[in-house]
Amino acid sequence: MTDDLRPSDEPSTNIDPAIDVEVEAEALGRVPDASAQDGRTASLWGDAWRQLRRRPVFVISATIIVILVIISLWPGLFATHDPRDCNLIDSLLLPSSEHWFGTDLQGCDYYSRTLYGTRVSITIGIVVVFFITLIAIIGGSIAGYYGRAVDSIIGRITDIWFVIPTILGGIVILSLVRTRGITTVSLVLIVLGWATLLRLVRSSVLAVKANDYVEAARAMGASNFRIIVRHILPNALAPVIIVSAINVGVIIAAEAALSFLGVGLQLPAISWGLMISVAQQRIISAPHLLLFPGAFLSVTVFSFILMGDALRDALDPKLR
């Protein structure tokens, strides 16, 4: 069902009326009840959660993501060395019991550096996707709900943004900046990345807006803001959650690509993209320099994409 993921101007008809975790948690929290306590939740999110728990794809990807997040929060817990305490005598050692992933040209412990690199990737991935999703939800709901002139204006801006390819745009913008840290790179990826998701939110909101319960809410005296937040978004967010999960992987790869191309993060920052970039010059003599950050990057991106797939299967009732 790739239809769900394709941003489209037509309101997709198979938007699943499932719901994001927060809203549901709040709803259940407000009415603590016997049925929820005996585990008989029949909400669509509840159904999806039961589906997910049984899916190996979800369990595997979720486990990997949780481990990566823990590593990125407390890399010191797992690292065997200080990633910046390097000894040139140990330059370019192959993996050993002392240095599990070997050492790099500067003699730094490569295992510790790879772990610290997780922090940059996960931070950029999550922060960028958080803001992209926020922009998309706000802009997309306004465009989809109010329609007409507002929709046209937001729609045309989105169209223009579509023309800019993320990586190429990133190269152009970032090459103008002299010092580039996590904030700069994140900002550029946010600025370049929101358009697709905004379109998705818009079309999803359009589809949900046509439902009778939206008109009913209006007839019961609900304000526009309340209608959007309480009645439309909980029913429109399923495809957004799916695409956002996949987007985390895509953004992490984009950061690595920009850093690899020399316009992303700069030394002495520790990032998988930078490590791969340095490693390519010694791919024959020291292949481990490419192998480890490359493997971490691939597994991370792959996990988020798998997670998106699992969510899509669980949130689309037609695939059950």
Binding site: P17, A18, I19, V23, E24, A27, R30, V31, D33, A34, S35, A36, A42, S43, L44, W45, R148, N211, D212, Y213, E215, A216, A217, R218, A219, M220, G221, A222, R226, R230, H231, P234, N235
Partner: protein, 350 residues
């Protein structure tokens, strides 16, 4: 909600007239301005609804019956829909005001929900699928009445008991899709009644239901109305469904009134070919009919409403005058009025 809530005697800063009818619609005109032209959905609709009264608005799809209700509630999609003429008064308070563009805006959104509430045709689609019914009922009380979460839940259970949902306490945490069609419609009615509205508009409340359930829902509506003194507007295409419950009926065609009057008078002595056609096309128990006869032709193209009487192209009684002159709504005796040049001939046939 058995306690009576002290109501302000003002609405949007304007005094409520205690002697005025609950709802008074005069010469309402609604049109949709689309690319192909102007769709005239409602053309000069008038009616009055008093306390405890039930008015049926009868017509085929596209006759403007739902659109007129949307205009009264102020939930018309504008654009393309515009109220171009008429007044709507709720207990003496004008709900519509002319704007600079010459159309009318609904200026008293406060009436929605708390004063005028609406029951929709299909409760499955009219209830939000991701929240429990208790939460949705409680939300009304929390938002409009400032109830606490706990009180709102108790209020929701009380409302569900009021519309006779069995074991309400257990079912308050169920989701809309876990209810049967009839029970869902009861939830919808409970939600509409949650704020003790003065007027309840039910838009085809039983169309999506089984015949046996239809009767139960109609019974419930009239019981609740007797209890609360609410003014009830029943929008329907089936006269038989509302015949027992309604006091008066407005028969609409192409957004115009074809026949108005006491329901029993209209039911037993239809005086307009369209009313007669509607009745002949539906099965009824007290009239032995060999076969049902559909009304010939198709509903009017509202972009090009026929001149004269809008029903004349489909009317078996039509003569030349019908295509040139709009018949006036004249009393035909026995408590009703018909907009037909040849109503005597129609009455003879019955």
């Amino acid at each position: 909600m058995t306690e009576t809530i002290a109501r302000s005697d003002k609405l949007a800063g304007r005094p409520i007239d205690p002697n005025a009818p609950f709802l008074e619609v005069r010469d309402l005109n609604v049109e949709f301005r689309i690319e192909d032209g102007i769709v005239r959905a409602v053309n000069g609709l008038s009616y009055t609804l008093g306390q405890g009264e039930t008015l049926a608005i009868l017509g085929e799809s596209g006759s403007g019956k739902s659109v007129s209700a949307q205009a009264v509630m102020g939930i018309l999609d504008t654009p393309p829909g515009f109220v171009t003429a008429g007044t709507v008064k709720f207990r003496g308070v004008d709900l519509l005001a002319k704007n600079k563009k010459g159309t009318f805006d609904h200026v008293v959104p406060e009436v929605r929900g708390s004063r005028i509430a609406m029951v929709f045709q299909d409760a499955l689609t009219a209830l939000n699928p991701v929240f429990t019914v208790g939460w949705q009922l409680g939300e009304m009380l929390r938002k409009h009445r400032g109830y606490s979460k706990k009180d709102a839940k108790e209020g929701a259970i009380e409302l569900m008991e009021r519309v006779k949902i069995p074991s309400a306490r257990e079912r308050v945490n169920s989701y809309p899709h876990e209810f049967s069609g009839g029970m869902r419609q009861r939830v919808m009615i409970a939600m509409a009644l949650s704020l003790d509205p003065d007027v309840l508009i039910a838009d085809e409340p039983t169309t999506a239901l089984d015949v046996t359930v239809q009767a139960q829902i109609m019974e419930l509506l009239s019981e609740l109305q007797a209890e609360t003194g609410t003014g009830l507007i029943l929008i329907t295409h089936d006269l038989a469904v509302v015949a027992e419950v309604a006091d008066r009926v407005v028969v609409m065609y192409a957004g115009m009134r074809m026949e108005v009057g006491e329901i029993q008078a209209v039911y037993h002595r239809p005086s307009h070919p369209y009313t007669l056609g509607l009745m002949k096309s539906l099965a009824r128990h007290d009239m032995h009919v060999e076969r049902l006869t559909p009304i010939a032709g198709s509903p009017p193209d509202l972009l090009h409403i026929p001149t004269g009487c809008p029903f004349h192209p489909r009317c078996p009684y039509a003569k030349d005058i019908c295509s040139t002159e709009i018949p006036s709504l004249d009393a035909v005796g026995g408590g009703h009025a018909s907009a037909c040049h040849f109503w005597q001939e129609v009455q003879i046939e019955i």
